[in-house]
Symmetry: C2
Subunit: 182 residues, 2 copies
Amino acid sequence: MSQVTEDYKKRVKDLYQKSQIVLTDEELASIDYADFGLNNIEKEALNLILYVNNKRYCAKEMVLLPNQTCPEHLHPNLENGLEGKQETFRCRWGEVYLYVEAEETIDTSKISVTIPESSKEYYTARKEIRLLPGEQYTIDPKIKHWFQAGNEGAVISEFSSPSYDEYDLFTNPSVKRNVRDR
Amino acid sequence: MSQVTEDYKKRVKDLYQKSQIVLTDEELASIDYADFGLNNIEKEALNLILYVNNKRYCAKEMVLLPNQTCPEHLHPNLENGLEGKQETFRCRWGEVYLYVEAEETIDTSKISVTIPESSKEYYTARKEIRLLPGEQYTIDPKIKHWFQAGNEGAVISEFSSPSYDEYDLFTNPSVKRNVRDR
């Protein structure tokens, strides 16, 4: 049975509404509630509306429920030689903690969020960036990253090169990305 | 003397504020108030905040004051073979009338806005698209376009391929684009 219940959908839509971002009924009806096949949607998932994804650029509006985490992944180069996805996250509402692979890291005991217990070995990136509304950060291609909302949840705009979600490489081998948007 | 008065800046910032989009103080201090050298800023101009512009994509938040018009232009291919800019306009607040070059056109007497009188011969695109909050439209490269806000003004997100504003071709030969963002 799907974990995407009516209650779950309502909580996601409520966060979009809190952010004051205007969305069409069609967009609200086609939110991608991605559970990544992990059967742990309250802790590990990502909810998003795809505004545009063409051969040149992509834009999305993402929601994380309170303390919900998008699992660690990276965007590899594509077989046809196209460079991996580069993306800019801009926090619009709430608070998000972003972790990226970097030489400069912090000890696991010092990170500000709680890593999902059942998958903790699959969260390895340790450079921490906290984004509040109006703040943004750009992630270079091929850099492992994961992100978790603060206690109230988060609404995050993503501006990026084209999305080819089916090529994303997740650290957790159990992840299955159900790609609805393409 | 610059037409960008403190009163003008305040009216632009007030529209960003009405849209509920959260901006940093640094962003608000570096708004690009582009008058295109036309000495007609109340009628012909574009105000924008550049979120990101790299080799792969660009995102901006634009404001038009009530009935203000962004002059007609197109984004040509670049000398190095890069394709001209493709862009998606998403209305966030207010109302915007977008005009694009197309076979399907309407008679000048039937368009919904008033073309700036002093430059009316430089507004030629006649396919009309009205965008309300949550609505968006993608403009292909090399298509002439211009746009005007409705009576309350407009806040418009732009998602696009990279911006090389200095290469834009304006229909009005008097236009001088003072590029502050690059």
